[in-house]
C-alpha cells in the first residue's frame, strides 16, 4: 500500500513536470530577454503576444533588409523591430517609427540569445516561445513562420 502511494506521487510529479516542460524550453532565454527589455526600458504589455524582429549589428545586411521589408509590410502594433543599427530607420513613416525600438547601447549585439543574425523572437504573454534566425541561403524561408504567427494572432 505504501509502495503504491509512493508510485502515485512519483507519476504525479512526472505528469506535472511534463505539463510544464513546454513553458520551460525557453526559460533561460525568456529571463535574459525580459531583463534586456527592462534595462533598455522597452515597455511592453506582458498580457499580450508580440513578434520581435531583431536586427543586431552583427548579422548580414541583406538578411536585415529582408526582415526590415517584412516589418514595413506588417500593420500589427504587436510586431516590433528591435535594432542596434540606425541604417534605414529614418526613412520610415512616423507610424512605423513608433514600433521601432532602437538600442543605442548595442546590448542587442552582445545578448546571450541565438540572434547573431537577423532573427524573429516569438513572445507570448511574457515568455519566449520560439526564436528563428534568417538563413542567408534562403532568407524567404522565415516568412512562413511569421505568416503562421500572424494567422494565429489576427486580433
Amino acid at each position: 500500500m505504501r509502495y503504491s502511494s509512493f508510485s502515485l506521487c512519483f507519476f504525479f510529479l512526472l505528469f506535472t513536470l511534463g505539463c510544464n516542460q513546454q513553458n520551460t524550453r525557453y526559460q533561460k532565454e525568456t529571463e535574459i530577454f525580459n531583463r534586456y527589455l527592462k534595462t533598455t526600458r522597452f515597455h511592453i504589455n506582458n498580457n499580450e503576444s508580440y513578434l520581435f524582429i531583431c536586427t543586431p549589428g552583427t548579422g548580414c545586411a541583406g538578411c536585415d533588409e529582408h526582415l526590415y521589408s517584412v516589418f514595413c509590410g506588417m500593420k500589427s502594433d504587436n510586431i516590433l523591430l528591435l535594432t542596434s543599427s540606425r541604417e534605414g530607420i529614418f526613412d520610415t513613416s512616423a507610424i512605423l517609427k513608433s514600433r521601432i525600438y532602437f538600442d543605442s547601447t548595442s546590448k542587442l549585439d552582445r545578448i546571450n540569445l541565438p540572434i547573431r543574425n537577423a532573427s524573429v523572437v516569438f513572445y507570448e504573454k511574457g515568455e519566449i516561445t520560439g526564436i528563428t534566425s534568417v538563413n542567408p541561403n534562403s532568407p524567404d524561408s522565415i516568412d512562413f513562420k511569421i505568416n503562421e504567427w500572424l494567422k494565429t494572432h489576427k486580433d
Binding site: T58, A61, G62, E65, N112, R116, N117, P136
Partner: protein, 393 residues
Amino acid sequence: MSNNRALNFQKGRCPIKSPAFFLCFFVLVIVTSTLTYCKHPEEIKEVSCSSLLVDSITFPFNKIDFGSVIYGENRKSNMYFYSDGDYLRCIRYNGDGKPLDTIKYPASISSMLTGFYPITKDSFAILTHQQLFIYAAKSKKIHVFNLPIKGFRFEGYRFAGSPLEVCDSLAFFFRYEDTLIINTQKNLELYLDSSHHEMVFNLNRDRAENIKAGEFPKEIYGRNSYYSVSISRCINKEKHELIYTYPHSKNIYIFNYLNKTLKKITVQDPVFISNDTFDFNKVGDFDYITKYQVENCRFRALKYNKFRKEYYMPVVYKSNYEIPNSDEVVRFIDKPWSILVLDSNFSIKEKINFPGKKYNFDRILPLQKGVLVGYYSNIKSKKDSSKYAVFEF
C-alpha cells in the same frame, strides 16, 4: 631521535618552524617557478601598445566601402590612396591627414567595384566583377582587360574580387565562386562564397596565367573556405613571393611566383592552438560562427612592412564565449588581441598586445614611419571607420 621528534610534536612544537620545513618550502618555490617558466620555452618579448607616434588621425572620408590601400613613397612622407566607392582619394601623410587630391572614377567603370590597387602615384588598377581596368589619372587613359570569368553558374555567381595587388605586370586577385545573390529592395548583395581561388592575370600578355595547376599549395584549393576560415594573401614584391595564411593554422605558405617554388613555415607561437574543426555545414549559422570564432585562436591577415622588412600577424587568442553571471557573450571584435612581429624568416621578434574594444585588428597599414592601426568601429554605423593611430613598434 625519532621518539624525541614525536615527543616535540606531541608537546605542541610547530613543525613549520623547523629548518627542514623552510628548506623544503624554498625548494618547492624554486621548482614551481621553474615549471611555470618552462611552459613558455620560447621567450617572446611581450609589450603593450604604448609607443604611439600619433594618437589620432581622422581621414576625411566618412565611408570606406571595401577597405583601403596604401602606397608608400620612398620620400619624406607617405602617400595613401583610398577608394570610397565613387572616388579615388589620395592624401599625403604628414600627421594631420589632410587630403591631397580626389579623382573620380572614369565613367566607363560603372559596375560594382570589388578591388582597388595603386600601382604608382598616378596609375591605379581597378577591379570589377568581370573586368580589370588600369587607369592613368593624369592622362585619363584607361586600359580594359576582360577577365575570363563567366558570371552565372547553376550553383551561384562567380566574380573577381579583393584582395587585388599588382606587381611584375601580374595582377593577383581572388576569384569568388558559388556566391549567392540576395537581391534586396535597395541593392544587390553578394553573399556566402563557399570558395575562392587565387587568380593571376598577366597584363603584358592580356591573359590569365595558369600558375594554379599543381603548383600552389593544395591546401589553398583542396578545401572549402569561408570568411571565418578563409585564406589571406600578402605579397612581398622584392622577393616575388605570395604569402598565404589561414586564421586557424600556424602554417604559412610562401609561393615564389617566378621560381614556382613553395615553402611551408610554422609560426612558433606557443600560445596559439591550431584548430581545424569548423563545421562547413553551418556556414549560414551566425550563432555557431560567432561562438566558434571566440572559442578558438584566430590569426588575421598578414601584413608586410617593406620599410622594415618585417611582417605583422594579428592574432586573437581563444576565450570563453559566455560571461559568468552575465546576460552577455564575448564578441570576437571586442577581444584583446596582439600583433606578432615576424622577421624576414617568419621568426617571432616580439608580441605587441592591444586592448579590446579600442583598435581594429583588420586595419593595419605599415608605413615608412610607424604603423597605422585603425580604431575600433561599429560595423554598420561606420563611426570611427576612418580614424587611425600611428604606432612605432
